[in-house]
Symmetry: C2
Amino acid sequence: MGRRIFLCMDIGGTKLSCALVSDNGEILGKGRKPTPYEQGASGTIPILEDMGRSLIDLARSIGEGVEAIGISFGGPVDYKRGRVLRSHHATGWEGFELTAMLERAFGLPAFMDNDANAAALGESLFGAGKGYETVLFLNIGTGIGGGITIGGRLHRGGRGLAGEIGHTKVDPNGPICTCGKRGCVEAFASGPSIARMAREELEKGDKVSRMLEICGGDPRAITGEMVAKAADDGDEIALSVIDRAMEYLAIGIANAMHLFDPDIVVIGGGVAKAGEIVFAPLREKVGKYLLSGFLERMPGIVPAALGDDAPLLGAMAIAKEGGR
Amino acid sequence: MGRRIFLCMDIGGTKLSCALVSDNGEILGKGRKPTPYEQGASGTIPILEDMGRSLIDLARSIGEGVEAIGISFGGPVDYKRGRVLRSHHATGWEGFELTAMLERAFGLPAFMDNDANAAALGESLFGAGKGYETVLFLNIGTGIGGGITIGGRLHRGGRGLAGEIGHTKVDPNGPICTCGKRGCVEAFASGPSIARMAREELEKGDKVSRMLEICGGDPRAITGEMVAKAADDGDEIALSVIDRAMEYLAIGIANAMHLFDPDIVVIGGGVAKAGEIVFAPLREKVGKYLLSGFLERMPGIVPAALGDDAPLLGAMAIAKEGGR
């Protein structure tokens, strides 16, 4: 039997990606456009249809048929019903029946999950988690999402909410998180949380910091990337802020290890690009919080390998499994 | 095909139980003796052999053969090799090849896991977790153990350590745990931790408390049961100590829910016997810490249903699966 081909879509806050992906994880063609985030679903669907048609034409031109559509969506979804709950980035998506819409448009079955689950599955099957039985995946960016795979299949849990490591609580007296609760991992280690902690440090008064130069003297303009840049340049305050973020992230990862005992922890998003300067201290911090039984054969903590392709490859697997 | 019969053993710190269990969870015969905990494995094995022989005779007398031996052990084990790592309660067990020993003694294949995993499996298949896809089980006693089942099978993880909810950290500034780390769930909510917190309250000075009567005036004699008794009698200090323990337990359970999204949470051990006086406030506290997505269809948090039979029934399932 020949290879099977899927039309895969990744709907994010800043870009829309579509790709033609084979069941062995090969990307045969790919397109990308900016997300019209102020227009929600109604502005996005025509762009997806347009890119999708081109890719189906491409498949036809190489003598291949497309079997199904797989979708990675940047926000919570009801994967069983193929319905968006809401977008993390844009309005006009609440309750949108996305798979039904695309099924009508393309005459193909469509299956969807959120982007953290899609990326977790992509990395588990084709990336840094390949070959490991139990994989814990984290994506650290504006928020902290996560996904869990066991034997190459997503563990979604009863409500499809499994893997929400970003909202596990690591300090009941910690700062308020975007979710409204206190001391979540995300409230310490997401990009905006790192920026907030840096800002708080600078606002304590007469501090000299490379961060002030980078942000043009206005602490309110600081981003997580600027803190990382200043830390790279050896700035003491930036280094201490990142150290604090990694400490709480380590508690969250160690907690997840105690519960799940994964064979590997894969981290994607901005932090994955930082390399050993982040991963080496992170591994040491996690080790500090683990029961001794884990240390004899401590699971690896490694950067994601597929970058932006992870959710597309995961979407392929979701379509291939038929949304199971 | 007829029913299949297994010889099941539960090796705990205070008692040894053996039972003849059918593959549909029926207990056909059972025996119990005190654990000779000061004698370790060498004192325990003859008692197990003796009880086991009687049960095999019983099986023969009703025309049944015994297929295999399943063991629940009170401490960490290497389940793949059938080897005890150590006992939580007794010396003389380190590295003991328990399944090989029993295989020689009985001429039957033997399989083993720790008691938290065995009880989790027992409750999932035959008790309070029956019929639920994903089950999180906690046993709250001298320590806090746990186990996870998915589709009626244990999720053991890469090192067989999954389910260690007792050693997830819920407050980095919390009290020191038996494991040597700070602020684990176990350091707040185990029986001895509740007793410690009560003692600390009483030692703050001129407190009037029912607990002082119950413990005969010596705060050092207080146990978790005495705190529960005083709380039952309406003692304010005991009530506030238990409320604090449940608050941190709730954080641990909510964290596990965010990671796993179980369909039900089953709690065994002493606390399970307390009933709604503990479970009603615990559910409310957990709800407070959950993302809104969980609240629409919040997983049940319920007492274990099988009591002391849970590890024996789980041991049957472990033997039936052949240690897989």
